[in-house]
């Protein structure tokens, strides 16, 4: 019973050690999400596909992606810092 916190710590710590490698996947996934979002709502900024009415109909389903994309656009002045942090030796 008393060992439970120790076990939980070790489990979390070990999970944390692995999370650096899964972070790489997360980064690539985020980039793909960016591209996907841009494709879906691209008609608003001049990318011709898909048509605007389809984008509008899809919008309720991509609220989170649009929020994340908007925030990331604001963070573009720190993109190299983020990449250095991810891959730092």
């Amino acid at each position: 019973m008393k060992l439970q916190p120790v076990r939980q710590f070790l489990k979390d710590f070990e999970g944390g050690l692995r999370s650096r490698s899964t972070g790489y996947i997360g980064f690539e996934l985020r980039e793909m999400e960016n591209i996907f979002s841009l494709l879906l709502v691209g008609s608003f900024i001049g990318i011709p596909s898909p048509p605007s009415d389809i984008s509008v109909r899809l919008m309720p389903y991509i609220v989170r992606e649009m929020y994340v994309m908007g925030r990331r656009a604001g963070d573009m002045d720190d993109i190299s810092g983020e990449i250095y942090g991810l891959f730092a030796p």
């Binding site: 692995r18 999370s19 899964t22 790489y24 996947i25 810092g81």
Partner: protein, 559 residues
């Protein structure tokens, strides 16, 4: 004094420093407030900003900062004797390295998870951020050179490790393929991957791969370019995943073994202030020591990790101390284990007498000095055969070196593009074929790899190249700590406690500048290495000008 005594002293010092000094810094300098929302909550998006339980964040942070350098540095530095090495590790950890990491993390938390590079441009001038990228690029070239050299020494010195390392890469690619392409269960693949790694270690003893220097350099050159340009799921990610288990296993059994054995320290405690450490020349302990024991005491890379990634995962500011400050102390503990292992068994491994350490003609020993010593410790406690233990320890180092080469080349590529993009302002020039050619990922990777391998072949003694890498790393740390010093002084306005940051920042800057000047004047490295160190020195001097200008300019608004 025995190994157990030193490890207990190390633990006591770390606990005392953490409780008495670290907490004071957190309270009086940064004014940690557990009720203040962290970016992980304030900007939560389920993607970039996600709060994590502190052991998870700690594990992530530690896996990101721990590599081969805290092992390699002490191996070289032990020519001064184990006592000055261990003192530099402990004091460097407590008063510079851990503060550096902690402040990089907390300043990033206060700036919405921005990187230390961005913060340097914010608290000083934007051009400092540009200098940061140039520093990063130059350091990455030196990292490629130094770590390619380490790998070369390991592969030529221990051919079985070359086989094991190549098998390890093949296993990682196979595991990645089965997980991502064939959707095989992760737990099954983890067990299979670790079983295959164990089999590779055992089997490699019977099929050593012996090649000379030139073929290995060509292989490493192409490996760096290809590995750094592949999608992360093909090699980097599955290998890092398996690496985590090796690190975890190596630390756990090594820690237990060297606490339990209580072997006497036979390596000389002190040799000479001017021992023959770097490039076969008398090397003054101060200012040269930070060039050698880089990451074990303090490291500029930690600021990059802490500020870019860890800060976005912090659940509460109260966790910053144990993750930022505590993470550095944990890495220092890893270096302590390396010093203790070699201190106890190094002389018998090297087959030398105590009086022969660090004298004229000293060329030092490579990774085998650590791996054999580590294996002897495991043998005494767990009865693991020395050959197997040494192979495991060498594979541990080589896996980290391979990952470092891969990730370093990726960073060098990004930094190269960042520098060119910031340097070339005209849109027309950016659209030119030449610009597009030089920023193309394969070309950018090849340039960094070629420069690194060229340095590796032309640098002469390994220790000379290692010291150049150390110089770059420590100058990066000075840049990050100076940024934190300006933040603490101008933004937080912490009164007299600002000196707890300003003093180590200026001490580090002076030490690194003095070391760089000594490195160049003593001609420790080859001409290209000296040139890179020279450029970094000039940039570091310019940085001081920016820091003084920012400090004179006075306080900014509190963030």
């Amino acid at each position: 004094m025995g190994t157990t005594g030193i490890i207990i002293i190390a633990l006591a010092i770390y606990v005392a420093v953490y409780l008495l000094y670290g907490r004071r810094i957190a309270r009086d300098v940064v004014k940690i407030d557990a009720t203040r929302e962290t970016p992980a909550h304030r900007l939560y998006d389920g993607v970039d900003y996600v709060p994590g339980r502190w052991p998870v964040v700690f594990g992530h942070h530690f896996a990101s900062i721990a590599g081969a350098a805290p092992i390699v540095g002490p191996i070289v530095a032990l020519a001064w004797g184990w006592l000055p090495c261990i003192l530099w590790i402990w004091l460097g950890n407590a008063f510079i390295g851990a503060i550096h990491d902690f402040l990089a993390l907390t300043s990033s938390v206060r700036y919405d998870g921005k990187s230390v590079q961005w913060i340097s441009g914010e608290v000083m001038r934007p051009r400092v951020s540009f200098i940061f990228s140039i520093f990063v690029y130059l350091v990455m070239i030196l990292v490629v050179a130094a770590f390619a050299n380490v790998l070369l020494g390991v592969f030529i010195g221990t051919p079985a490790v070359a086989t094991a390392s190549l098998l390890f890469i093949a296993i990682a690619v196979l595991i990645g393929y089965l997980i991502y392409q064939k959707k095989v269960n992760l737990a099954v693949m983890t067990v299979l991957g670790l079983a295959l790694v164990a089999a590779a270690i055992v089997g490699s003893v019977h099929i050593p791969l012996s090649l000379s220097k030139a073929p290995w350099l060509i292989i490493i050159f192409f490996y760096i370019i290809i590995a750094a340009s592949l999608p992360v799921t093909r090699l980097l990610q599955p290998r890092d995943y398996l690496n985590a288990y090796i690190l975890w296993f190596g630390l756990a059994i090594g820690g237990i073994a060297f606490i339990a054995i209580s072997a006497p320290m036979t390596w000389p405690a002190v040799t000479s202030f001017n021992a023959y450490v770097l490039g076969g020349q008398p090397s003054p302990f101060w200012p040269a020591v930070p060039l050698v024991i880089a990451c074990g005491a303090l490291s500029g890379f930690h600021a990059i990790v802490g500020s870019g990634t860890t800060s976005k995962m912090l659940d509460t500011e109260a966790h910053a101390l144990r993750i930022g400050y505590g993470g550095m102390l944990t890495e220092g503990f890893l270096s302590t284990i390396v010093v203790v292992a070699i201190g106890a068994f190094g002389l018998s491994v090297a087959g030398i007498k105590a009086g022969e350490v660090g004298i004229a003609g000293w060329k030092g020993f490579g990774i085998p000095l650590f791996s054999q010593s580590y294996a002897m410790g495991l043998n005494q406690v767990f009865a693991i055969p020395i050959a197997m233990g040494a192979l495991f320890a060498t594979l541990w180092v080589s896996c980290f070196v391979l990952t470092t080469l891969d990730t370093t080349n990726r960073i060098a590529r990004f930094a190269w593009v960042d520098i060119l993009t910031r340097g070339v302002r005209s849109e027309a020039a950016r659209r030119s074929p030449a610009f597009r050619f030089f920023t193309y990922k394969w070309v950018a990777s090849a340039i960094a790899a070629a420069l690194g391998i060229w340095l590796a072949t032309s640098a002469g003694a390994f220790s000379a190249l290692w010291a150049a890498f150390g110089a770059g790393n420590q100058m990066l740390a000075a840049l990050a700590l100076m940024t934190s010093a300006v933040w603490v002084t101008n933004v937080l306005r912490t009164g007299k406690w600002k000196y707890a940051v300003l003093i180590p920042a200026f001490f580090l800057w002076i030490t690194v500048i003095a070391a760089g000047i000594w490195y160049i004047s003593a001609r420790i490295g080859s001409p290209p290495t000296l040139a890179i160190v020279g450029i970094m020195l000039v940039l570091a001097v310019y940085l001081l000008y920016e820091v003084i200008a920012a400090l004179k300019k006075g306080p900014k608004e509190v963030v």
